[in-house]
Each structure stands twice: as structure tokens, then as C-alpha cells.
């Protein structure tokens, strides 16, 4: 008799499983979990802390807060950041001061660990919430973060 009992129980479990998928099927309009990328580019907002790429914010006078201390370069585990700097005369104080020439960021090598941003004493670099980083040419992934002609914001010291 357990033979027929097994068949009955077996069919019952199968129907239970079908009821689960069946419910999802009937509600398919409401509970689709996929995103319609790239159609939803306008509405797709990343969270504020999302690590897209490292950027250096500039103010309207084309000034940044990077002092060229190279702490981010040292903190980076895989050499994604290179800073080219030299000592120039600071127009305000008239003293020689370390200034960045180029803050080079290799997005292609970056693992988005966030150690550089943790290490930065002046908050000169930040995360951008940009998620479309694919390019056709690898060299485009090497970026210079400071804008041409930019200089350090007055009063920022490390």
C-alpha cells in the first residue's frame, strides 16, 4: 500500500512546487526583478556611496584641494595612481611648495577598494557614481584627474 502512498505523496509535492511557480507566473506583471538597461538610464540612480571611479572635484575657479602628498599613491595596492609633481613657487606665500603637475589615475587597474580616498587628508579625490566605464580603447582608461590649468585651492595644507 505504501507503493500507492508514495505515488500520492510524490504527486502532492510536485503540485506544491507548481503552485509556487504558478503564483509567480500569475503576478508576473508586478514582480519582475530585472532592470531594463539601457532603457532606464534616466531613472537608474546609483547609491551615493557607490564606487564608480575616482574623480577630483574642482570648484568654479578651477581649483582642487590636492596637495600632492602622494598618500593615495602609497595607499593604492595596485599602482593605479601616479602623481607627477614638482616644487613651484606659491604665488601667495612666495615660498617653494610641492604641487601636482598631473594626477594620473589608471581606471583599468583600479579594484575600487577605496583606500586612496580613505588615505587622502584633504578630501581631494572622491568616488563618482558613474557606472558606464567601458571604452573601446584601453588607453582611454588612463585619466588625468586634475583639469588642465587647475591649481590648488588657497589655504589647503596637508
Amino acid at each position: 500500500m505504501s507503493y500507492f502512498g508514495d505515488i500520492y505523496k510524490g504527486i502532492k509535492t510536485l503540485l506544491t512546487g507548481m503552485s509556487v511557480t504558478g503564483k509567480v507566473f500569475l503576478n508576473n506583471k508586478n514582480n519582475s526583478i530585472t532592470q531594463q538597461y539601457p532603457d532606464n538610464r534616466e531613472t537608474l540612480k546609483m547609491f551615493n556611496r557607490f564606487r564608480g571611479e575616482v574623480v577630483m572635484p574642482h570648484n568654479e575657479k578651477n581649483e582642487h584641494t590636492c596637495t600632492g602628498c602622494q598618500k593615495c599613491e602609497i595607499a593604492c595596492p595596485n599602482g593605479s595612481i601616479e602623481i607627477i609633481w614638482d616644487r613651484q613657487i606659491d604665488p601667495e606665500s612666495g615660498k617653494k611648495k610641492k604641487m601636482i603637475d598631473k594626477h594620473i589615475y589608471h581606471l583599468g587597474m583600479c579594484t575600487m577598494c577605496g583606500l586612496c580616498i580613505e588615505a587622502c587628508p584633504t578630501d581631494a579625490i572622491l568616488w563618482a557614481q558613474n557606472y558606464e566605464n567601458s571604452v573601446y580603447d584601453r588607453t582611454k582608461l588612463t585619466k588625468v584627474l586634475n583639469q588642465p590649468g587647475s591649481k590648488i585651492m588657497p589655504g589647503v595644507e596637508d
Binding site: 506544491t16 546609483m46 557607490f50 577598494c113
Partner: protein
């Protein structure tokens, strides 16, 4: 009938099959050299190294802050717990006491990571035995956790939220609310998992009595995590060597004694419930305070050897650091759970069918970068 063939003069040859490194059931780049006789497995020989990045060697040149982000890439499904392991080792070596807030947050995120990992495992488990829909249901729930992570840590998978001495930044204001939402949501979903897959007669037949691992063998093979607990070997690091805030919570260690694939499966389902209960105990009681203690910019560990065990979603992860007092470890070894668990695959798969191999491999829950490191 077998004996007849063996005694006759018929010549038979072993049939070799290369399963992987590109195979749907090996979840990555694991290569298995199978010796089969018809459908029956005679020998399984894993061939590793397709994704070996030599994290141990890289760690010897990195600073202790930098090592943490490498561990994200080992067992990427429990990246937070891996981070935590390294941070705990460094903190213990430096004798830093992290704030209570850090401990609680680490534990909550660690348990969320465990649930996320088990969700993915459950989906893939179903897919390996042929029920493709489970994959999406598992991902639906995992996605909620990933959103919580993304909001707080900034990344969904390789979070790198821990630093030696605490956390990189404080939790997001929405963290508690979202986590509670998830817990409420997920409590209705685990019964659905059971209805869809666990109770299913085909699934039961596929798993019961398949890939049997005795308790003695589990210990001898160095199994840990749900694999060992499915064989009745009580080995939860969270119970025996509690770390972070795990000594403040009460939970049961999921334990089954059958040692077959179904037991390992049920242990993981049970673990999801236990993780939910741990989160519920902690989420309302996150103490106020700092989210990190100040450490020196260049961390130098004292001379000596340091070992730290943690329980990842796959089992016992060990971090062994041999320091000579410099800013880099002299030698760093990760005892990864997947590596030991893989070594018993041959033992449990021999004598079964190809389908059994796939099913028992799924219950081992292998993550290949964890094995290859």
C-alpha cells in the same frame, strides 16, 4: 551482472571525460578529470590553478591595509567575512580593542553575507539538479542584500568595508530600516524555497543517500562549514571561537547526522534561519560610538605568528600571519574552506552516477577563486 563482465574475457577500457574548466556545473574554472564506466564514476581528479592569482605571494609585498582588499577576491561570496578575518588577525596582533559598534556591525553584515551566499548557493543548487527557476528566486532575495551592501559599503560584491581597526565608514542611515525589511521579506521566502525544492519528490530522490560522508571522514578530510555539519561534526567557529559580537547572541548550530547531500542542503537552509535570528538580535541594539579606532598609517605587526579562524559561508577560513616586525607579512597563508572541501569530492563521488557527482558537488558549494586563491 557486474561480476559476469569482470570475469569474462571482454576487454573494457576506462572512459575519460574532462569536466571543465568550462562546464556549467563546475561554477567557474574547476577542471575535473573523470574516469567513468558508463554512467558510474570511478575516479574524480580535480585539476586546479586556472584562476590562481597568488594572493599569498602578493600579500608578502602589500601593507596590511592593502591585504584586506585582496581577500575580497578569494571567496567572493563571503567577501566581508574574509575581510573581517584579516582585520581580526591584525587587530589581535596589535592588541587593539575595536569599539562595540564595529563588532556588532561586522557581525550583522557578516550574517547578511552568509545569507546572500546561501541564497546564491540555493539557486545554483537547484540549477545543478535541473530546476532552473530556483536560480532567479535565489537571486531575487540576494539582490535585496546586495542593495543594502551597496548603500552602506559602496560595492555589491567586493565590499572592502573593513579596515584594521574598524570600518571604513559608518553605516548608512537606511541600513537598519532596509535590513529589517529584508528580514521580514526573507522569512516568507524560505518556506517558499522549501515548497519549491526541498519537498519536491524528485529532489529528495536525487539528494537522499547520495554522496555520503561519514563523520570520521569529514574530520580526516578537514571538512568544515555546512559540509562537515551535515555529517554530524560540530565545528562552527562562531560557537567554539566566537569573534566580533557573536559571543553576545544565541543561536543554534545547524547539525545533521546523515552525511548525505540532503543533510548538507538542510544544514544550509537551517543556517539561513539562524543567521536571520542573529541579525534580529543585533539590529535593534547597534551601540553608539566610533566606527573605527585610529591606527598608525603604517601598520607594523610585532614579531611572531598569528592565527585567526572565522566561519565563512563555506566553512572555516584561517588566516596565518608570520611577521618579522616589518610593515609586510613575512608569510601569509589562507586556510580556505573550499580547498579542503574539494579534496573530499573524489571520496563522495566515486560509485555514483554523473548526476550524483553534479548534485554532491553542488552541496559542497565550491567557489573556485577560494580554492585557487
Amino acid at each position: 551482472m557486474d561480476t559476469n563482465i569482470a570475469n569474462s574475457n571482454l576487454k573494457s577500457e576506462d572512459y575519460f571525460i574532462n569536466m571543465g574548466p568550462q562546464h556549467p556545473a563546475t561554477h567557474g574554472v574547476l577542471r575535473l578529470l573523470l574516469t567513468i564506466d558508463g554512467e558510474i564514476i570511478k575516479k574524480v581528479e580535480p585539476d586546479l590553478g586556472y584562476i590562481h592569482r597568488s594572493i599569498e605571494k602578493m600579500s608578502e609585498r602589500d601593507s596590511y591595509q592593502q591585504i584586506v582588499h585582496l581577500t575580497d577576491r578569494m571567496d567572493y561570496l563571503s567577501s566581508h567575512i574574509n575581510n573581517e578575518a584579516v582585520c581580526l588577525t591584525v587587530e589581535n596582533a596589535l592588541e587593539i580593542e575595536v569599539p562595540e559598534r564595529v563588532k556588532v556591525i561586522r557581525t550583522i553584515i557578516g550574517e547578511l553575507t552568509r545569507i546572500a551566499s546561501h541564497c546564491l548557493w540555493w539557486g545554483v543548487m537547484g540549477m545543478d539538479v535541473g530546476a532552473l527557476t530556483t536560480y532567479f528566486y535565489g537571486f531575487r532575495d540576494r539582490e535585496m542584500i546586495n542593495d543594502i551592501f551597496e548603500e552602506t559599503c559602496g560595492a555589491r560584491l567586493t565590499m572592502n568595508y573593513n579596515i584594521p581597526g574598524g570600518l571604513m565608514f559608518d553605516i548608512h542611515p537606511n541600513f537598519v530600516k532596509r535590513t529589517k525589511e529584508f528580514v521580514a521579506h526573507f522569512k516568507t521566502k524560505i518556506p517558499e524555497y522549501d515548497k519549491l525544492l526541498t519537498g519536491n519528490v524528485i529532489f529528495q530522490k536525487r539528494m537522499k543517500g547520495v554522496g555520503i560522508l561519514s563523520k570520521e571522514d569529514a574530520i580526516s578530510f578537514g571538512a568544515s562549514g555546512p559540509v562537515a555539519r551535515g555529517s554530524g561534526y560540530s565545528c562552527d567557529v562562531r560557537k567554539y571561537y566566537p569573534y566580533s559580537a557573536l559571543d553576545k547572541v544565541t543561536f543554534n548550530e545547524a547539525l545533521k547526522t546523515d552525511g548525505d547531500s540532503l543533510a548538507r542542503y538542510e544544514v544550509r537552509i537551517q543556517e539561513m534561519w539562524e543567521s536571520l535570528s542573529i541579525i534580529e538580535q543585533l539590529i535593534d541594539n547597534i551601540p553608539e560610538g566610533d566606527y573605527k579606532v585610529a591606527t598608525k598609517a603604517v601598520i607594523k605587526l610585532p614579531k611572531g605568528e598569528f592565527y585567526q579562524k572565522v566561519e565563512t559561508a563555506r566553512g572555516e577560513l584561517g588566516v596565518f600571519i608570520n611577521s618579522t616586525g616589518t610593515k609586510n607579512p613575512y608569510r601569509l597563508k589562507f586556510r580556505s574552506p573550499g580547498f579542503s572541501n574539494l579534496s573530499l569530492l573524489n571520496h563522495i563521488a566515486v560509485g555514483g552516477k554523473i548526476g550524483d557527482l553534479v548534485a554532491s558537488m553542488a552541496t559542497l558549494d565550491l567557489v573556485i577563486p577560494d580554492i585557487d586563491r
